[in-house]
């Protein structure tokens, strides 16, 4: 359940950047290959924001699909789960997207 620590990192990062603003919305990008479960972050968010300047904020998570490029057959494909194997059987792949774990933006009460 590292999502608790992940969610705490989100709150800490936002609080450091905008210590005096009341935050009304937090927008995250979480990739399918990031190892972080978006639903678990949603579960932790209210708990972790309580008593902070993010309390009551809405959480919006953009879940980014995984995309890989096969270095053997040259095709781009969406991996089936976190094991990245090309339909051609190759494991020589490069990850194009899906590893994001990012705070995109926040809404702050002006």
């Amino acid at each position: 359940m590292h999502e608790l620590a992940i969610t705490e990192s989100v709150v800490q990062a936002v609080t450091e950047r905008l210590p005096d603003a009341r935050i009304t919305c937090v927008r995250l990008e979480i990739g399918a290959l990031s190892g972080v479960v978006a639903d678990s972050v949603r579960f932790c968010f209210d708990l972790v924001t309580e008593g902070t300047n993010l309390a009551g904020a809405r959480l919006e998570i953009a879940e980014i699909a995984g995309r890989c490029h096969c270095r053997v057959c040259g095709r781009d494909f969406e991996p089936d789960g976190p094991i990245m194997i090309c339909p051609c059987g190759s494991i020589e792949i490069a990850v194009l997207s899906g590893q994001e774990l990012k705070i995109a933006s926040v809404q702050a009460a002006a």
Binding site: E8, R17, S105, V106
Partner: protein, 261 residues
């Protein structure tokens, strides 16, 4: 958890035997002044575009610099609970004691049982108790290194909390990640915990002395490690009988002689 800001890094770091204790996240002047929100407010969008783990990554990089400056090799040793991390380190410390200065940062949710064992094997050791935490992070390791004060040119093994999920995400500032997979756990772990195996530089298959008694397909396991981590080196060993240990020691020596930039 700090009730004010939500930070929960209440890990306790102590040199073993205990001479000093410090709680990470003790707040001296960590105040959050109240905010007044009067009337209707307009909202503005602030673009952050920052990695969630940016702070941990920054601290990990600082650890890495600190270690590099002292010529210290740091290894992040990870596995499920009971895979034999501590037994491996005990044997390693006893076998290499005269040749290599090894110290250990022990991570567990509670207790100092592992630190007691490592200490008895002749190593300097710091125990970090993570409390509710399921992994070590770079801040805990920074404090662990400060308390441990390892000598230049030595090896520091960071024995992470036994867990095949969470530790994979947290860079500690190590030069190498070693994942221990015991034959008693079953061969299916690489496919079930791919993030952990993907991050490994070296996968050690442990407890091979028990292979005759368990249903563990070494070939399938190796193939599945390869699928998740094409670049990882794999070795088999038994810390009980000593079989395969020289290969692990050779790997350690190579890493010390040629630390990666």
């Amino acid at each position: 958890m700090c009730a004010t800001c939500g930070c929960s890094s209440a890990a306790v770091v102590r040199l073993f035997p205990a001479s000093h204790e410090h709680e990470i996240g003790e707040h001296d002047s960590h105040e959050h002044p109240g905010h007044e929100h009067l009337g209707h407010e307009h909202e503005r969008t602030v673009q952050l575009q920052q990695k969630v783990l940016a702070k941990n990554d920054r601290l990990a990089e600082a650890n890495r610099d600190w270690l590099r400056q002292r010529g210290i090799l740091a290894i992040n040793l990870m596995s499920s609970p009971g895979a034999g991390k501590t037994t491996l380190l005990e044997r390693t410390a006893r076998d290499l004691g005269g040749q290599m200065a090894i110290s250990v940062i022990e991570g567990d949710q509670a207790a100092a049982l592992d630190a007691t064992r490592i200490r008895a094997a002749g190593c300097r050791v710091v125990q970090i108790n993570t409390g509710a935490g399921c992994h070590l992070d770079a801040e805990m390791v920074a404090e662990g290194l400060r308390v441990l004060d390892p000598p230049g040119g030595s090896v520091v093994v960071i024995e992470n909390v036994g867990n095949l999920v969470c530790p994979a995400l947290f860079d500690l500032g190590e030069q190498a990640r070693v994942v221990l997979a015991s034959v008693t756990e079953g061969a299916d772990k690489p496919l079930k915990y791919p993030h952990m195996f993907r991050s490994a530089d070296l996968v050690l298959v442990s407890k091979t002395d028990l292979l005759p008694y368990v249903d563990f397909d070494t070939r399938r396991h190796a193939a599945d490690v390869r699928k998740t981590s094409p670049g990882a080196l794999m070795l088999q060993l038994s810390a009980t009988t000593g079989t395969g240990m020289p290969d692990w020691y050779d790997w350690l020596r190579r890493r010390i002689l040629a630390p990666p930039e």
